[in-house]
Amino acid sequence: MAVSHDLRTFKNAAWLGWQMEANWTDPFVFATYSIVKPLAGSLILVFMYLVIMSGETRTAFFSYMFIGNAFYMFIAEVLFGVTWVIHDDREHYMTLKQVYISPINFYTYILGRAAIKIAITTIGVLVTLAFGVLALGVELDLGSVDWLVFFPAFFLGLLTILIMGLALGGVTFLTAQHGVGINEGIAGIFYVLSGVIFPITVLPDWAQKISLVLPVTYWMEGIRRGLSPDMMTSLSGATGLQSFSNVQLLLALLVSTVVFAIVSVAVFRYADKVARRKGKIDWTTAY
């Protein structure tokens, strides 16, 4: 009974999310919008690479960079998306209080709204990867994908991002004017420190130490090892995690996911409690 109730909440929240994301325009414009933006972001890196490497894209490093950048879209979109659901419902549509008092599980509602963001981002990532493979020679052969590494790594990482988004959403209860900045700042830190587009070995020693406690670092490595094991083997130079076996890598990702999940849920609960006590659940700050 409770499960079917949650499923209904999830389905309706996802439907609502889809309407809010897509009904401002016709499907063709929306599809173009969803594809052009991520492709342009990837092409910036492609041209940076081409300018220096004189046009040769069939290298392990190019694939490393391209795949990492494609999957980073999940961090940028989902992390921001989850926080924005809370911010948007409270500040712009002023419906958060109704969501709170309705007989549904709040976490299920957030998950449903986030599911649409994940679905749209997944399409963007797939289109970007397809473009990379077909037009730029990115090393990604479906026949050689190590699914046993890829799937656990992918889903664990995604879960971490979702939970962190929830924590940041809690922070926006208390500091609506800083929500966007904090969110983009954290996404930016991951971009620099987690080996998204370059191996962390190029960073200063102190920064590498921070990289090793971030779950996204292990997520990126796991995804690449799963999707393109040959590329990771042939990548000249160390990635910073070369001493980890696949099992150790997944374990490290699992541990950091659990730690971040505990911290994130605690942050959200604390923020939620303070927001209720101070009457901030239905506050609007015009941000």
Binding site: W24, T25, Y33, V36, K37, P38, A40, G41, L43, I44, L45, F47, M48, Y49, L50, V51, I52, M53, F61, M65, Q177, H178, V180, G181, I182, E184, G185, G188, I189, Y191, V192, V196, I197, F198, P199, V202, L203, A286
Partner: protein
Amino acid sequence: MSDSWFVTNLRAIRGRAYPRVIGSKREPSWLFFDITLPILTVSAYAYIYKYMDSPPEFVGYVILGGAMTAFWLNILWAMASQLYWEKEIGNLQLYLIAPISRMSILAGMAVGGLFMTSIRAAATMVIGVAIFGIALSFAEPVMLILVFVVTMVSLYGMGMMFASLYLLLGREAYHLSNLLTEPIYLVSGLYFPVKALGFWVAAGASIVPMTLGLDALRQLFYPMAGSNDAFLSVNTELGILVALCVIFLFLSKYSLAYMEKLGKTTGRLTLRWQ
């Protein structure tokens, strides 16, 4: 005695610029985010150039481009979208009944935005230069200032024109601004020399003043390497930018008058939540 038309409009410019200038002091945390966020992207791109053993000037190109993103984001979110937001919160009608030129409102937005953003962009530049230890040439300071000023006038002229055009939009405004971020970073060559995109793409991208302005600034900051990576000569780019200033300022006045007339005719000037 009543003030002259000129003085009244100068006051309007000052009045509209004031909240943007003073806003920086009211919300100091934004200053922190506005400076550190571009630094993070700049750092990522700088490290990737370092990883590829690229010539050192490329790190400088990235820092210059990163500083320039502040201006483009300001154009999109604080110029182009502004009149739409003013309509949403009910200020637009007050602007229109005030006895001032509409252009004063746009100019005030531009002046305030330019001031606020220049501080952030300068801080990004200084921190970026300090972190990555890059050397810049100041052999032609007058030309540097001239190129920067002309680039900004034309860029904000474009923003003033967008502000009017965005009045046609409803919820699309947010999405359009989002869409004009990464694609413009790409075609304007913010993180690599725009020449790499080929002549025709670079020529098309030159409609965004940032493209030519950045290319010219790179040539002035890096006289040797910048010339090799240049799309056009500095003088040619400066000439085109001056032309863009005139065109955008004219178009912004024309489009604002047109949108106001259209809005009044269709009764949408005060319509919210479209």
